[in-house]
Amino acid sequence: MSRDRTIPVLAAVCAVLLGAAPLAPQWLVFLLALALAKGLVVLGLVLLMRTGLVSFGQGLYFGLGAYAAALLAHRAGLADAALMIVAGTAVAAAVAAILGLLLARYREIFFAMLSLAFSMILYGLLVKSSTLGSTDGFNLHAKSFAGVALAAGSERRAFYAVSVLLVFCIAWLLHRYLASHWGRLSAAIRDNELRVEYLGASVYRVVYLNYVAAGALAGMGGAFAALAVGHVDPETAYWTTSGEFVFIAILGGTGNVMAPFLSAAIFEGLRTIANQYAPNVWQMSLGLAMLAIIMFLPGGLWTLVRRRGAA
């Protein structure tokens, strides 16, 4: 049995990312911050995929997290980034806790389509709401983090550094969770729900908990993305955003907690380059990349990392 080096490698990568915070150019900090935010959403998606469920509606919680964080600053005047992240996570978790009561009963295409339907309801509400900026959305600006005032121009680097630390903690926790009884139980549910019930465990309870956790992670990712971009709009809840998360999850694979962040970084990097040099055909190149992944690396890009580690 090979030794699990996930946590040491994760710690080393996070240390490098943290070290780069004051040195990296602004565009790279922005790109990495966005990749980390989306990686958090995809990490939740991976948790659901472990139980055999694919959500095409994580945009719902991503959007809720982004808007909750933004509204706290914009409407309540509480422009503290830590509070905004907590609010985004809490609102998304609360909504997931309610919708999860229904969605945890569904499987396969019904789960996928129901989750998509809920995200599109939010999108519709945001688009029609003039008080929330309708299709244009609105800007946000955090002035402090946990009570510490942020110097003008340094905000994004600060949010990025915080997101690196938080990603490390969450990925570590989730890695432990997946290696625990509950993680194995999730995989067991994906393989054979009937047997899990006959062994005496509640499939519904495990699916529900994973769903709420995935919602909370998506909300946190939404809040981080809003802070990084400084703007929210209904696109955050649109189905193409949810599809993007599924794309990143498949691109990276579900083999390791680092895979979502690796694939999110590759995705954002590719998109930035493609937007620059081939703005009209970049979606096509993504489609071809997805085709290649499904055909040659069905376990995602993480398969390459695993093969290299095994060699």
């Binding site: 009884h181 995989a187 393989d191 054979n192 006959y198 062994l199 005496g200």
Partner: protein, 242 residues
């Protein structure tokens, strides 16, 4: 010996087909009972009703006086009634060890790893411990399926054709392992079986089903010698049975 499981007046129809028609049976604690019958006779339907997979149209099933018929499989497992399946129900992407770890974790074993190692050894599964369950030979799949059912230390163990699909020379080995694991633990074992050698060797009582009804119930020798059983279950021509 006291009665642990009682089924009274069970009826179950699938459209025009009657899978259970007025089935009334009781089972004593620490007994080994074999359920026999041709395919479609109602044996598995009976097990499915006891374990909550199917709800009877009429009748009741009680375990130690507690009604089971409206309960879910999970609740019934909580009463100490566990089962294995005709087609092994495993977690195919997980290794044999992980399959057992899942079961031990659900059963809330105190030392999960040690308990898992003990089961691997007891069932001779240690050489396959790291192999994915989906890649196991049929006999080992059956063993793992039975081992999973035993992890929760059931009071009643239901085995649905534990030796079907297994090579002839492995059948007795599987049954010896299962009986060895439950011996002295006060477990009531009900097993569905088509192999009459297995039935006569391991069962203290045999219940024969035909067309959703119980046609014989008693000691193995008398049931296997019953004319109706010889005709409808064993498949002998009427002249041979006479």
């Amino acid at each position: 010996m006291s009665v642990i499981l009682v089924a009274e007046g069970l009826h179950k129809n699938f459209g025009a087909v009657s899978a259970a028609c007025d089935i009334s049976l009781s089972f004593e604690r620490d007994s080994v009972v074999s359920l026999i019958g041709a395919n479609g006779a109602g044996k598995t339907t009976f097990l499915n009703m006891v374990t909550g997979y199917l709800k009877p149209d009429r009748g009741s099933i009680r375990c130690d006086g507690r009604e089971l018929t409206k309960r879910s499989p999970r609740e019934i497992t909580g009463f100490g009634i566990c089962r294995s399946f005709q087609i092994p129900q495993l977690f195919h992407s997980l290794s044999v060890r992980e399959n057992l770890l899942v079961a031990e974790g659900i059963a809330a074993a105190e030392r999960v790893e040690e308990a898992t190692d003990a089961v691997l050894e007891r069932f001779g599964l240690a050489p396959y411990a790291e192999r994915p369950a989906g890649l196991l030979p049929e006999g080992i799949r059956k063993l793992l399926d039975v081992a999973l059912a035993l992890v929760a230390k059931p009071r009643i163990l239901l085995l649905d054709e534990p030796t079907s699909g297994v090579a002839a020379d492995e059948k007795f080995g599987i049954m010896d392992l299962v009986m060895g694991a439950v011996r002295g633990a006060g477990v009531t074992v009900l097993f569905v079986e088509h192999d009459m050698d297995i039935v006569s060797r391991y069962a203290a009582r045999v219940v024969a089903f035909y067309d959703g009804r119980v046609i014989a119930d008693g000691a193995p020798a008398s049931v296997l010698d019953d004319a109706e059983v010889r005709r409808y279950v064993i498949g002998e021509a009427p002249d041979d049975a006479a």
